[in-house]
Symmetry: C2
């Protein structure tokens, strides 16, 4: 291991204690193994998966620390054996399997990315999870084409705001739902061609009225599944990245056959390092230039000191946020 300077072998991190409360505790500082990079964290993104992990419903993969946090930005602090693509002190952001809510976090060296031009080091923490999720699902799995129509459930979420901008940057039409007129307005300002307030309108009808969808990015599932099947055009692709509205949904198989639909989904965390490397490469090659040109930017809802992670989670569960919530150190 190569390390920038000798320091304490301890660090502070957010731990989930009995009853689900969060505490700022002292733990051992992680040491990068082969192919790993240790990042001194300056900011971390908050994701809904963190809240599931806090509740014990989304445990980290084997071998990963029992610490929340899927994305960070900061400085390369140390590198493990075999890592020659990152220099000590370099400003980076990274996708993590876990461990972002801490002063130091370990990433696979292929999941580390340079900070794109056009954003601050802090803001870069808000890119990895959303950009790689949208790439993996909308671009890789659903193969959205320029001129096609993407429909996103939850356009004002971190994923939603990112999906709107990335899909517009590649030349697609984008329609979204959001839970308030204010959020709908924010989505339109980000480039969405239309935004439907799901509390006051029927998205299936609204979507049909604008010509239906070719690709749907969904985080709701449950009762929305039959409505999505109805709103998809011939050859349409429905991609699930969460199922906040219910794990089970009903499929009309005849409609799937007649319209040649594809119902799919994926998780980011469960992918292996090679798959994540591919996504990080696509982000750096295709999306970072969009960030540099201003076509894609992280939408910062709010910032909290990492010690106040509980407040950040309250903000997310309130559902009032637009874009991403940041933890800072």
């Amino acid at each position: 291991m190569t390390q920038s300077h000798v320091q304490s072998d301890q660090m502070k991190t957010i731990k989930v204690v009995e009853g689900g409360a969060l505490e700022w505790q002292t733990v051992s500082r992680p040491i990068p193994s082969i192919d790993q990079v240790c990042i001194r964290v300056v900011a971390a993104g908050v994701n809904r998966a963190d809240i599931l992990q806090r509740k014990g419903m989304y445990p980290p993969p084997k071998g990963c620390p029992d610490i929340m946090g899927l994305e960070v930005s900061g400085y390369v602090e140390a590198v493990g054996e075999g890592v020659d693509d990152w220099q000590l002190g370099q400003e980076v952001c990274a996708l993590l399997p876990a461990g972002g809510y801490a002063e130091y976090a370990i990433a696979h060296h292929r999941s580390v990315m340079p900070v794109p031009e056009g954003v601050s080091l802090q803001e870069a923490a808000l890119l990895p999870e959303a950009v790689l999720t949208v790439w993996a699902n909308v671009f890789d799995i659903a193969v959205l084409h320029p001129g096609e129509t993407l429909f996103v459930q939850g356009g004002a979420s971190g994923i939603g705001t990112t999906a709107i901008q990335m899909a517009k940057a590649m030349g697609a039409n984008v329609y979204v739902t959001a839970g308030s007129d204010e959020k709908c307005k924010a989505c339109i300002e980000l480039g969405a061609d239309g935004a439907f307030n799901y509390k006051t309108s029927d998205f299936e009808e609204e979507l049909k009225a604008v010509g239906g969808a070719d690709v749907i990015l969904d985080m709701v599932g449950g009762d929305y599944l039959p409505k999505h099947i109805n709103a998809l055009n011939f050859g349409g692709r429905l991609v699930h990245i969460a199922a906040q509205g219910g794990l089970k949904g009903e499929v009309n198989i005849l409609k799937v056959m007649m319209k040649q639909l594809s119902i799919t989904g994926s998780t980011l965390r469960g992918r292996n390092d090679i798959a994540k490397m591919h996504l990080a490469n696509m982000a750096v090659e295709i999306v970072w230039p969009w960030v540099a040109s201003g076509q894609v930017r992280p939408v910062v809802d709010s910032r909290f000191a990492m010690q106040e992670a509980e407040k950040a989670h309250d903000r997310m569960t309130s559902g009032e946020h637009i874009g991403k919530i940041m933890l800072t150190l």
Copy 2:
């Protein structure tokens, strides 16, 4: 129109009469329009879709005759304007949108195929629907790879016997279900690596015991859908071509996400002429050599004179057939 010789402008065909009975009636002989070929039929394949059409549940596409029959073989009798790829008198087989249960049938010239080496002109009538369906769904949509495992519901059906042979010819492992030990034996003889009698065993458990499936070709749907999701490996593809067991099925969205599954389906009849041309090209280029080498052969369950189409339908609805049922003229 170019025609081989002057004849009556009438022909005999099977018509569905009041109450669903079948009658051998005289109707006008069809005249090929632009891009169409008229075939003097010597044999037609019977498909389950014919029985649905007979019941009024699967009407022919607009502009097509209200006559059953999706595949025939015979001689080119006449060609419409713009057709220069077929000669009068040539032996051919063809995929049809409708109209095969007749002395003369109209096909788009790009859905006409030469008779492959290794089969009789009659037998060639049994290839188009099954070969193109398997290509469209297992090879094109589900992208079955050599070394992967295909699972087919109904291995002894016309589609099933064809899928077994085509998948083995391209180097995949194949497991199937069938409704009797005799049918299971027939599937093994065709090359299946295993066949499960669905009346005496649980296909989900049987399939898991042999390592799960990468691709499932299903004609059942309904309650099988959750079992198929359970039996699919990571990255698995489930393709529906019918839903004889129920149009609606339940999907566990979390399992779809965790295993990155794809649930799809298609119909052959609804495809446009370009899509069918592609399938016919693949059949001629890839599958016809397999027929010539004996790797793929039409499994002939039984032959009936076309006038006795009702008996052929009884044979199909009995569920006792293995392979394809032929109507002859």
